[in-house]
Symmetry: C2
Subunit: 308 residues, 2 copies
């Protein structure tokens, strides 16, 4: 039942056409953990922050069923910081500042009490660090999901391919699927990537939804058309957190259950973008989530009776 | 039961990364009519060609249940000709040649035998011509679907708005929905456009599917992820033809039936792009179409039981 989440816990400063934040809490493991916490109450986090990171946020993690024994707090050092500005269409953003700080030499230590985890979510990080986590687990988890990005394809392709080979599900966006495979058609890209190790590939298309490929099967989860998209930061991680959180809860890693997991992930992501940072994904209640799932059902379900 | 299709019947010369054609048969009414012919056998076409247009193609229309009494053949004149070249990603294209020829002063004459049509599909044309067709019908059809494009928003917005006001369903692409409404969010764009006359708005997103808006309801039909997209020409018209053809067949213009119609339209469009021009949408058999619909069901159907 338990889920190990590895990834950044960080500060972000975000500018969108609708406003601007000072340093707020961000990071892949933050979004993944908070999102997964709606589905499973045994989440264990491996990450690193500096002593500038607020105790109150660590308390929020703990209150949301996220065990922080594996969250290293480095005295006298600063947390990872990213700052970015979104273009008017919110589909592109420019990075203004990246300060690695504690992340520069992050050694992902897995506490003994985390060793029994059944599900592992590797948030976007140096592939070598992601690999180290897998190697440090005495028992291979039932399911390993890995997120990554084009940056590692540009500068660390060999290490990336080694790590990809060790995981069950890879989540990347459209352009990354094309870059990794050298194929423009996503169907062909998926066929190639599924020979690289993973049995499942999730292609994230942002406002255009997400595709799940496995063998010859394909499933599409839409994104919910929203009146306002306020801040896309963390949407992909929130999606991944909902996806693996639902799988960990249901203990069923069949293709059919992954379809449901993808819908839950998409629902969580649709909340995430409605406010800055993590604001909207803390404190959601069950009826709110249920009603959002119903919107997804209404959005795509149709009824055609085939003769054959 | 009968469907009146108005639009261009033309020659196209197409270049894609995969090949190049000489002049082949194209035009909105061609794709709409052929696509609709899989659903209804009473299609009536209003269009204009020159005497360079092959009799064999008119015969093909007739063999596919398309009545061509309203297809004017102008002696000594040439048919509309368009030539274009697609970029590598097939999402953008450059127009190389546009020769209006017979289209320059097209007067859409509606034969007396067409007057009883229940469904009207206005393919992309000068809005004034589209309007004239509506005005020339003695009895208002049960449903009027209108396609248009950004070109008319640029040069004939007033006429366009007058025509839009007279129709039930408007089909445009994402960028056109934004241009017409002045809203970036498609949800807000739809809300605005639905105050301009149409009760239904279909937003075509190409490889990202299509959205149907009406009142507060929204439905999403995906595009089928294909291994090869060979030539996107006519996909939007083929989609529209399947959509209105299915509605004409089933005589049901409820929102729930429009969902099905959208899926049939998407299925027809998924065939269209597999070969050059109309090649793939002539001579499809029933099992082929049925199997394609099944692919759409498999692509998006999931099973989540809600408690509430």
């Amino acid at each position: 039942m338990s889920l190990l989440v590895v990834g950044t816990v960080a500060f972000d400063a975000i500018e969108t056409p609708f406003g601007k934040t000072d340093k707020i809490i961000g990071g892949a493991a933050t979004y993944i953990g908070l999102s997964a916490s709606y589905f499973t109450d045994q989440i264990k986090m491996v990450s690193v922050v500096g002593d500038d990171f607020p105790d109150s946020m660590i308390k929020t993690f703990n209150e949301n069923n996220i065990d922080t024994e594996g969250l290293q707090v480095r005295k006298g050092e600063k947390s990872f910081f990213w700052s970015g500005r979104y273009h008017d269409d919110l589909n592109r953003r420019d990075t203004l500042v990246t300060e690695l700080n504690v992340l520069a030499d992050f050694d992902p230590i897995v506490p003994e009490s985390y060793q029994d985890c059944d599900f592992l979510m590797l948030g976007n990080l140096t592939p070598a660090v992601q690999k180290k986590v897998i190697q440090r687990l005495q028992k291979r988890p039932k399911l390993i999901v890995m997120d990554t990005m084009n940056f590692w394809m540009d500068i660390a392709m060999d290490e990336l391919l080694e790590t990809i080979q060790m995981v069950d599900v890879l989540t990347i966006n459209e352009e990354e699927a094309r870059q990794l495979s050298g194929e423009y058609s996503l169907v062909k890209a998926a066929q190639k990537i599924l020979t690289m190790g993973p049995k499942y590939l999730v292609v994230k298309k942002g406002e255009h939804g997400a595709l799940l490929f496995s063998g010859n099967q394909v499933f599409f989860a839409p994104a919910l058309p929203l009146e306002e998209v306020f801040d896309p930061t963390g949407a992909g991680d929130t999606f991944a957190g909902g996806f693996i959180g639902y799988l960990a809860k249901s203990q069923d890693i069949s293709f059919d259950n992954m379809k449901r997991a993808l819908i839950y992930g998409s629902a969580m992501a649709s909340f995430c973008v409605e406010k800055f940072g993590t604001e909207r994904i803390i404190g959601l209640d069950a009826p709110e989530l249920e009603s959002r799932i119903k919107s997804f059902i209404d959005l795509v379900q149709f009824d055609i009776a085939l003769v054959g």
